[in-house]
Amino acid sequence: MTYENKKRAVLLLIALAVVAWIAVDAAAGGAQYWARVWLRLPLLLTGSGSGWPITGGFILNILLSIASMAVATALGTVMGLATLAKSPIIRLPSFFIMNFLRNSPWLVLLFAMLYILPFEMKVFGLVIPFPPFVKAVIGLALPTAANFSEVIRGAVQSIHSGQWEASRSLGYTQMQIYRYVILPQAFRRMIPGWMNLYALLMIATALATVTGIQDVLTILNTSLAMESDRVIVYFYLTILFLFFAYCYPIAIFARRLENAVKGDNL
């Protein structure tokens, strides 16, 4: 048996054991608890008991992760290129900010955003509100952007120095070399890291419950007040599974891409 087959067999065994355990437990009286979970599932997913309209729940976590990732990607690109800049006036501050954000606990950053960002902001007579959702997006985007800037830096620096030499000898300027030669190649190498980061961010959206948005955890906590102690375990297992089912395929896909681009010079 090859290593890959062994691994597959072990994973299958674990999955079967979990299924068996659930079945045995359900037969022993767990079924009524699962029925409670099933009843509440539309609420956990969408934030409304009937499943429509979508006001929160797990779908809000997904929206939050997408919005944060969009902001983080834009911010991280700027930060990543700034940490690569030749001029120390640009490089050093961005390096400092990047390291500060990368080494802060995400939960602390979320709390900080909660209190630092105002309820609304007036710019040229225009009132820009900062609802909890926006604060959560910014709070999660900041550390993700810092980590993404490191992904960019790593990808750019992994491009062989001969590419720089060749482009310089052809008369390209620094900006042109990035645009035409380095970034198109580095982009391929960034994708796996970017996806891994997204999976991490999705998991971290559970932290956003501290901002008071109606995400899956907030809703769970509210509705649990009406449930018995025993059923709580089943609810949390369900939430864990939701996150796992969403993130695991992304992680797997990212790893495949990583292997595909490894050591390839095409």
């Binding site: 062989h160 001969g162 590419q163 030499e165 060749a166 482009s167 310089r168 000898s169 052809l170 008369g171 390209y172 300027t173 620094q174 042109q176 035409y180 030669v181 198109p184 190649q185 391929r188 390839d264 010079n265 095409l266």
Partner: protein, 248 residues
């Protein structure tokens, strides 16, 4: 040689990497249409000389003039641009752009750097591919080409800039003996057409047949410089003799 006639004029250049002095006062003149081979042991500064000529490596001391450009006075990449237009370079590791096809590799710089018309550049690129006998590989990516083919595309890429001078940096060192021939054939053609070439090479036979002059470098100095027949048959310096005794 009349110094003012030389296309490349190098006088007393010194270059250190950290505390290690790679070039200890190199002087060399190359006239238009001349092919000069630089040979010597590893680490003697051969490749560094080439990189100083087109400004890839700034020098610590000395004088470099290429055509009308005073290279040692240039500070920014922008100022180097006209120089880079005049001087092309081919590398040991080919350094083709892996995300572009052979044809695109050749067309990129003339369009993006020189701002030439796209249709005209494509025409030129296809002619150059024919010249290096790779017309059928126009749409292949570098990863799909053999080392010798990649190197010939790299030569075509350098030629597409319509340079007056080409610098060849050990262009056959990474190739197997079979493919070396294809590349040397292409270079010989260029020399015969009268293109000014400075070649760093380990191919002694090729240096003897193709070049007009051979320079021997050792420990950061040019020890001996002579026409190939004289250089190989009657070397003057004991260090040249020792080196040739080892490699021939």
């Amino acid at each position: 040689m009349n110094r003012s006639d030389a296309l490349i004029e190098i006088d007393g250049i010194r270059k250190s990497f950290g505390t290690f002095e790679v070039l200890k006062g190199i002087s060399l003149n190359v006239s238009k249409g001349e092919a000069v081979c630089i040979i010597g042991p590893s680490g003697s500064g051969k490749s560094t000389i080439l990189r100083c000529i087109n400004g890839l490596i700034p020098i610590n001391e000395g004088f470099i003039r290429v055509g009308n450009h005073r290279v040692h006075e240039m500070r920014s990449e922008k100022a180097m641009r006209p120089l880079r237009h005049q001087v092309a370079m081919v590398f040991q590791q080919y350094n083709l752009f892996p995300h572009r096809t052979a044809l695109e590799n050749i067309m990129m710089a003339p369009i993006q750097v020189l701002g030439h018309d796209k249709a005209e550049v494509e025409d030129r690129a296809r002619k150059l591919l024919a010249k290096v006998r790779l017309s059928e590989k126009a749409d292949s990516y570098p990863g799909q080409l053999s080392g010798g083919q990649q190197q010939r595309v790299a030569i075509a890429r350098a030629l597409a800039m319509q340079p007056d001078i080409i610098l060849f940096d050990e262009v056959t060192a990474a190739l197997d003996p079979e493919t070396v021939k294809e590349v040397l054939f292409t270079i010989r053609q260029l020399v015969e057409e009268g293109l000014t070439c400075v070649l760093v090479t380990h191919e002694m036979k090729f240096a003897r047949e193709v070049s007009h002059r051979v320079c021997f470098t050792d420990r950061g100095m040019i020890v001996e410089s002579a026409p190939p027949a004289e250089f190989f048959d009657n070397p003057q310096d004991p260090r040249t003799r020792e080196f040739l005794g080892q490699v021939l």
